[in-house]
Each structure stands twice: as structure tokens, then as C-alpha cells.
Amino acid sequence: MSVVDIDQLEFSYDRKSKPVIQKLCLNIEQGEIVGIVGSSGNGKSTLLRLIAGLEVPSAGVIRINDKTVNDKSTFIQPEHRGVGMVSQDYALFPHMNVASNIAFGLHRMPRKKRQERVQELMELIQLKGYEDRYPHELSGGQQQRVALARTMAPRPSVVLMDEPFSSLDAELKQSIRSELRDIVKAEGMTCLFVTHDQADVEDMSDRYIRLGQ
């Protein structure tokens, strides 16, 4: 079953300039981990934003879990797509501490379960004891891990990650990468991530796509 199905997608930021994405087709199967590589500025982040529903394509169709979320006449709002995303700049809520940030998407869980889930993730990202810190009190790499946890917490069926490991050192990267892979596989999530690092692709993904020329 294909989880993400993109057909003839087209997008440009303004009508005058040349499209950032042109006639893109992409098919991702359930449980796959797919890496996206490509040179800077050729539309990797834009592609993720289109799938998430943060940008509106000028043409083409996007289907997620066999449901059309985007075509000429349909546009499903981001919160109803079941897609999680870690953005390049993390976007951790500055007015909430780490625990609240991670719990933010867990509104459908009962309180007890919610706390357990947060603890589980704190362990995964190796930040136990940092629950009460605020984002500005964390290092870049720590922030990135919290952003990762926040996105994984509600178990979205599709996870989009924009350079999720860019601020991590080699050692941490490796351990998080393999754990992340295990979790994604165990939960049956589908994952699409952008990276510049060939090692990420080799270690984590089942296959990769090169965007652009």
C-alpha cells in the first residue's frame, strides 16, 4: 500500500519566477524510510511543506494513506493530514518547557498515558532530567532532539524530517539514527527525510531520491 503518493506536482513561490517543483512524481510504501538528497536550494524543504499542507501546489495531486489531500478541488488542512514534521529550524515553542513541547500533540491521550509517553521519548532522545528547561536553555543539538521527540510523540503515520541530524555530533547521530530507525519500523511509521550526509542515507534509509538535476 502506498502511503504517500504524489503525481505531477508543481509549485512556485510566485507566479513570475520559475517553478521550484516541476512535474514531480513520488510513491512511498507503508513503513518505508526514504532519504531525499539534492543540492541546496533545489526544493527539498518545499517538497516536505507541500506534503504537510503548509504550501498549496499550483497543480498535481497528493494522496496520503489513500486519501486525496490535495488536488484541484480539495485541500485538507495540515492538522487533519496525520503528518508529522520536524522543520529545519525546530520551531520549539519558546513559551513552553521541554515536557510541554513534547506533550503538545498528545491531546487525544489521557493524562497518565501522556506522561508515560513523554518519559519514553525523553529517554529516547537522551535528555532525561531536562523536562523543565525552556528551549532557549538548550544547545542546538538538544533542541533538535526535542523537536524530533515532539513530532514522534503522537505517532503520525508519516513523519517528515528536514535535516533532522544536522546539529548532532557523529557519535550521538549514530545512536539516535539507529534508535530512530528501530522506532519508526516498530511503530510502522513511514518516514521521509532530507539530508546532506551520505552516511544518514546509508544508515537509515531503505532507499533515497535525488531531487533536481
Binding site: 492538522e79 496525520g82 503528518v83 514534521m85 503538545f104 500533540g105 491531546h107 513530532t151 503522537p154
Partner: protein, 548 residues
């Protein structure tokens, strides 16, 4: 753009936020449209008379006043901005900041204060007589055109000063330094380098001055000038002729549009500001003790005339009349002013937040919407008032019919006799003050936090309460304060739209001043100045935070 694209666009964006925003914009636009449409109605019999004998004089007087004031405020504002940025002298830092203070004094208060001070029994002439001078009345008294120009210049120059100063501080360094290296001296740099490159900034500040002068009622009325705005009031209060008042309002709009065009032409070459990002601050020249003292003295004289002296005079008068004025009824007026301003501010901020959220994603629809809701800020209070009056009078008619149709007995509530009309006017006029603050807040935060929240499955409403609002609460608060203060100061709208027997601090001040109870007007005036102070302070504080 094809029809299908438009349909898809509408479908995508059609949600509660947009619907409320569009309704809000429509309601805001309604009175303005009313004024325009009045031109196509059959004019009343007064109109022929007004048009034949009066309009030309009104227009000429309005233009004369505006042009002279524009020149004098430019001279004063630009020269002060020049002194505090280009030169260094003792007291410069304080002067730089203090020269903004006259903004806290509404010109209509300045008008009656000064004209009384310079009258035969005022402190100036009395003192001169005590010293043995007997100047002629024509020469010394502040009346009509001369009085209005002096008062407007003193209390409105800060607009020009502020904009020019920040332009000089931020963008002029390299031009001025190069001119210096080319051997030019102070005066010649001022006229040949600074003035031309500052032109867009000067025009920007000046357009605020022109707008204030065109919309003024308090000053011009007090000095007996016949401007279009005073004429609007006269046709309404004197003849209850809304139609003619609306036609005059339309004339005023034409004049305003003319000035707007001039502004556009003068600001056409704004490319100078392209080098903003790289600009470095201007290094001021240290002045010798004689020159430095002279400059400081000049600034102090302006500050005294535009701030210290009138306020001292008001304080003295306040002590004379304190017992008569400060009573329960006065407390009641204060309460009512604050209450009305608070209700209007809350409505403005709510609508601002809704429209601000709806228009965060850039598109032609959101651009149009955000321009529309702030339209009232570039339209004089008198015009808005007349439009609102027109709308409410029509509403009353419709409502009356419906009321009788439904079998209602007696007389229905007359909407145009309630404070709702005044609040409606305030909302239209000051929507921009709140909205701009909200917009700045949203712009500074960006969309990434809301996007993250939506992607975590949270609705737009939840995102708004838990993410957007906490992040922009500073901006919302400053928007609230600025809007509240503007409303407390406002005069023309309040005069035209208040219900019978309804007084605000500003209308109370105006009533006292016009009943020749100048001294009694001092206490409400001081209160208004005190409230205005808050907004000057907030602006200063924001400016400082912005710089760091």
C-alpha cells in the same frame, strides 16, 4: 487567474476567521461608501447655497492653512532632527528624546492655552504691561490663521522630527561623510545633501502633519477659521443637513487624495533606502562651547514653548479651578471616557487579532483585507463621523419599520442616540493602531510556531490561544495602550457622534474652552495630556527595545 482557481482559493480559505474578517471589513467600509454615494443623491436646498458661496472659500482657507503649516513644521522638525543627529553637544541625549514630548499635547488644548496666554488679560500681555511695554493687539494676539499655524507647528513638528531623525541616524552616514570629505561645510551639506536624501522621510512625517491639520476641528474652530472640516460641523450642528455634510466630506476626501498624490510623487525615488542593511550610524561632530550652547538653547526654547510653558500654565489654572471642576459629575465623565475607550479598544483588538490571523499567509485576498480594515486611519474623523451618522440614521429608519411591522408599540430604541454609534466610529477610525501592532507581532514571530502546532494536530483556534497569542502578547499589549490613548484624546468623532448629554474628557475640555471657561478646561486637559504621555512613553520604550 481563472474562475476555478478563484473558487479553489475561496474554498481553501473559507473558515470562521475569514468570514469574520470579511464581515468586519465590510462594516468598516460601509460608512465610507455612504459618504461617496451621497454625491449621487439629490442635494438638499442648502447645498446649492453652500456650493455657490462657500465651498471655494473653505477650500482656499484649508489649502492655505495646510501649506503654510507644512512649511513651518518642516523647517522646525528637520532642523531639530539635524542638530541632534549631526552634532554633539552637552544635553544632546536628553534633548533628542525630549523633543518628542509635545506630541502628548493635543493641538486643541495648545490652541486655547496659547491664545489665552497671549490675550489682553493673559500672562504675556500683563507681564509686558508691568514692564512698561504696550504692544499693539494686532501684533501680539494669537488669532485666526497666525494662531493656528503657530499652534500646529509647535505641537505637530515632532512627526517630522521623529521620522527625519531616525532616517538621519540610520541611513545618512555615508552620504554626509562623503560630502564632508569633498570639502562641503555644514550649511551646504544640510541643504544640498541632507534635505534631498531625507526627502522621502520628511514627506512621510509631513503627511501625518497634513492629515492632522486637514482633520482638525478643535484648533481651527477655536481660531475661527473656515475650513472644510469646520464647515462639515456647521452644516450638521447648524442645519442638521447630513446630505450637505456628506458632500463636504466628499470634498475633503478629494483634497486629501490630492495631498496623497503629491506625497506619492515626492516619495517616488525611494531607492536611497536600498543600502539600509549596510549602513552604519552617523558619527556626530563635537561642537565648541559657544555653538553647542546655542544649539542647546534653541532646542530648549522649542521645548519650553511646545511643552513646558503650556503645561505650567495649565497647572496654574488647574489650581485656580480645582474645587469647581473636580466633582462627582466630573468623575462620572472620566469613568465614561475610560469605559467607552476600553470597550472600543477591546473590539478593535479582537477584530485585529482575527483579521491578523486570517491574513497571515500572503495572498491577494489577505493584502486587500488588511488594507481595508485600516482604511479608517487615513480618513479624517469628521468624514467617518458623517458616514457613521448616515449609516445609523438609515438603520434607524429600517429598524423603525421592522419594529412597527412586528407590531411593536411606542417608539423603538433609536440607535443613533446610543453610545454604540460613537464606539462604531472609534473602531473604524482607530482600527489601524491596534491592527498594525498585531501585524508587527505576527511578522516578528513568523509562521513556524503555528505551523508546528497545526502539524501536531491542533486546530486553528487552539493554536491561536496557546501558541500565537502568548507569543505576541507584548505587541497586543502595546497595541491596546496606543489605541486606548488615541481614543481618549479624540475630539471630532466624539463631538459629532456622542449621544445627547454624553461627555468625554475631550468634549468636556472643548465645551469649557468654547464657553470662555478656559481655566476650567485645564483639569481635563491635564488629564488628557497625562494619558497621552503613556503612549509617548510606550512608543519610546518600543523604539528602544527595537534597537537592541
Amino acid at each position: 487567474m481563472s474562475f476555478r482557481q478563484i473558487k479553489a482559493y475561496i474554498k481553501r480559505n473559507l473558515n470562521g476567521w475569514w468570514i469574520v474578517s470579511i464581515l468586519g471589513a465590510a462594516v468598516i467600509l460601509l460608512p465610507i461608501l455612504f459618504v461617496f454615494l451621497s454625491i449621487f443623491e439629490t442635494p438638499s436646498e442648502h447645498w446649492a447655497h453652500i456650493k455657490e458661496y462657500l465651498v471655494k472659500d473653505y477650500v482656499i482657507e484649508t489649502l492655505t492653512l495646510t501649506f503654510i503649516t507644512a512649511i513651518t513644521t518642516t523647517l522646525l522638525g528637520v532642523s531639530l532632527a539635524w542638530f541632534v543627529t549631526v552634532f554633539d553637544f552637552p544635553g544632546r541625549k536628553i534633548l533628542r528624546w525630549a523633543l518628542v514630548l509635545p506630541l502628548a499635547v493635543p493641538p486643541y488644548i495648545g490652541a486655547y492655552t496659547y491664545s489665552t496666554m497671549f490675550s489682553y488679560t493673559g500672562v504675556v500681555q500683563v507681564t509686558l504691561r508691568n514692564w512698561g511695554f504696550h504692544p499693539s493687539q494686532d501684533w501680539i494676539s494669537l488669532t485666526s490663521m497666525r494662531g493656528a499655524v503657530v499652534v500646529f507647528t509647535l505641537f505637530l513638528y515632532p512627526y517630522v522630527y521623529l521620522v527625519t531623525r531616525s532616517f538621519l541616524e540610520r541611513q545618512s552616514a555615508s552620504y554626509i561623510e562623503n560630502a564632508r570629505l569633498l570639502g562641503r561645510n555644514g550649511m551646504s551639506i544640510f541643504f544640498w545633501v541632507a534635505m534631498p536624501i531625507c526627502r522621502p522621510a520628511i514627506v512621510g512625517g509631513l503627511s501625518l502633519v497634513v492629515f492632522e491639520v486637514l482633520s482638525d476641528y478643535g484648533v481651527t474652530q477655536y481660531f475661527g477659521l473656515q475650513t472644510v472640516t469646520t464647515a462639515i460641523f456647521k452644516t450638521w450642528f447648524g442645519m442638521y443637513d447630513v446630505n450637505s455634510a456628506m458632500r463636504l466630506a466628499a470634498w475633503l476626501m478629494v483634497i486629501l487624495a490630492g495631498f496623497f498624490l503629491i506625497e506619492r510623487v515626492l516619495r517616488r525615488h525611494r531607492k536611497y533606502s536600498a543600502s539600509t542593511s549596510k549602513s552604519k550610524p552617523l558619527q556626530p561632530i563635537k561642537l565648541g562651547s559657544v555653538k553647542g550652547t546655542a544649539v542647546l538653547l534653541f532646542g530648549m526654547v522649542v521645548l519650553a514653548a511646545a511643552f513646558a510653558v503650556p503645561i505650567l500654565q495649565l497647572i496654574v489654572w488647574a489650581t485656580w479651578t480645582y474645587q469647581d471642576v473636580w466633582n462627582d459629575q466630573f468623575m462620572f465623565f472620566i469613568g465614561r471616557t475610560l469605559y467607552t475607550a476600553a470597550v472600543s479598544t477591546v473590539i478593535i483588538m479582537l477584530l485585529s487579532l482575527i483579521v491578523g490571523s486570517a491574513t497571515r499567509s500572503r495572498s491577494w485576498g489577505s493584502a486587500l483585507l488588511s488594507r481595508t480594515v485600516i482604511a479608517g486611519y487615513s480618513i479624517p474623523g469628521a468624514i467617518i463621523a458623517i458616514g457613521v451618522l448616515g449609516v445609523f440614521l438609515s438603520l434607524d429608519q429600517v429598524y423603525g419599520e421592522v419594529y412597527r411591522l412586528l407590531g411593536g408599540k411606542g417608539t423603538p430604541v433609536v440607535l443613533s442616540l446610543t453610545a454604540a454609534m460613537l464606539i462604531f466610529g472609534y473602531v473604524i477610525r482607530f482600527m489601524a493602531t491596534g491592527y498594525n501592532a498585531v501585524e508587527v507581532g505576527f511578522e516578528k514571530t513568523g509562521t513556524r510556531y503555528s505551523e508546528a502546532s497545526r502539524l501536531l494536530g491542533r486546530s486553528r483556534l487552539y493554536t491561536f490561544w496557546r501558541v500565537d497569542l502568548p507569543l505576541i502578547k507584548g505587541a497586543v499589549l502595546s497595541g491596546c495602550i496606543l489605541t486606548f490613548v488615541e481614543i481618549c484624546k479624540e475630539l471630532p468623532l466624539a463631538l459629532l457622534l456622542r449621544p445627547f448629554d454624553f461627555e468625554t474628557l475631550s468634549t468636556r475640555t472643548y465645551q469649557y474652552a468654547n464657553n470662555e471657561q478656559i481655566h476650567e478646561a485645564a483639569i481635563p486637559s491635564l488629564l488628557i495630556i497625562g494619558i497621552s504621555f503613556i503612549s509617548v512613553y510606550v512608543l519610546h520604550y518600543l523604539d528602544k527595545r527595537w534597537e537592541t
